[in-house]
């Protein structure tokens, strides 16, 4: 199980902006180690963000998303104190769910 995703959600002018920093190596599968062996790909493949249980964003990552993925997006609505959940799964079927409340 990976480390916790850091989440910051702010409601303003009828929209909520969600910033998140996921902790993951995001190894592309294109690099080689010192012995010349290919380092296997290890990436987050799917992300889902929920607002009070309703999906507000779904993402599919390829190999080109940077290490420790940073993602910011906005959705209409949302109010202070309401819950944001961030879920991810990687290509080793590791999973993570973290939650935060909207500021």
């Amino acid at each position: 199980m990976g480390e916790a995703t850091r989440i910051r959600a702010t409601a303003k002018d009828g929209q909520t902006e969600v910033k998140m920093l996921m902790q993951h190596e995001m190894e592309t599968g294109q690099r080689k180690d010192a012995a010349g062996n290919k380092i296997p790909a290890w990436i987050i493949t799917d992300v889902k963000v929920l607002h009070e249980g309703r999906t507000v964003l779904e993402a599919q990552f390829g190999t080109a998303v940077s290490k420790n993925p940073y993602l910011v997006f906005r959705f209409m609505g949302g109010a202070q104190g309401e819950k944001i959940s961030v879920l991810w799964t990687d290509n080793r079927d590791d999973k993570r769910m973290d939650e935060a409340v909207i500021d």
Partner: protein
């Protein structure tokens, strides 16, 4: 042993249950656009896999990337669009081994704003592809990369 594994990967059976309900269970990965799009080796194949032939340029998409990226491993990309009824935003890099960097599915009530950080292997054109009201639009911009981000 099995139990220990379950505890280690899921944290608790409760969490696993929640994840299962939400569809984030093994086997559901790559749903949405499918592996083909995420493994496409050139723009045309990626567009094909995403279900678009030649998306038209739109001034209603604002793609912000640096002109020059000193470190190709961490290149900030912002896609902002005022198109109505945005359903999907994709970020592609034409010279990367896998050209589709990320794909975002935006449910009703979403706003046209995505910011993330991607790897760019060499000087390349970044393409923001936006699906709105069933139609695809794009905006492109070149990024000069002084130190590649994929094999470095």
């Amino acid at each position: 042993m099995e139990r220990r594994k379950a505890l280690k990967t899921g944290g608790s059976l409760g969490l696993l249950g929640v994840l299962a309900v939400l569809g984030l269970v093994p086997g559901s990965a790559w749903a949405g656009v499918g592996r083909a799009a995420l493994e496409a080796g050139n723009l045309n194949d990626a567009f094909d896999a995403l279900g678009v032939s030649l998306p038209e340029n739109s001034e209603l998409i604002k793609l912000t990337v640096p002109d020059v990226a000193e470190n190709g491993a961490v290149v900030p990309v912002t896609v902002e669009s005022t198109l109505a009824h945005i359903e999907q935003i994709s970020i592609l890099v034409d010279k990367n081994i896998n050209v589709l960097a990320a794909n975002f599915i935006i449910p009703k009530g979403g706003a046209g704003f995505i910011m993330t950080r991607i790897k760019i292997g060499q000087t390349a054109t970044v393409v923001a592809l936006v699906k709105a009201d069933g139609k695809f639009y794009r905006a492109s911009k070149e990024v000069q990369v002084t130190q590649g981000g994929c094999s470095a």
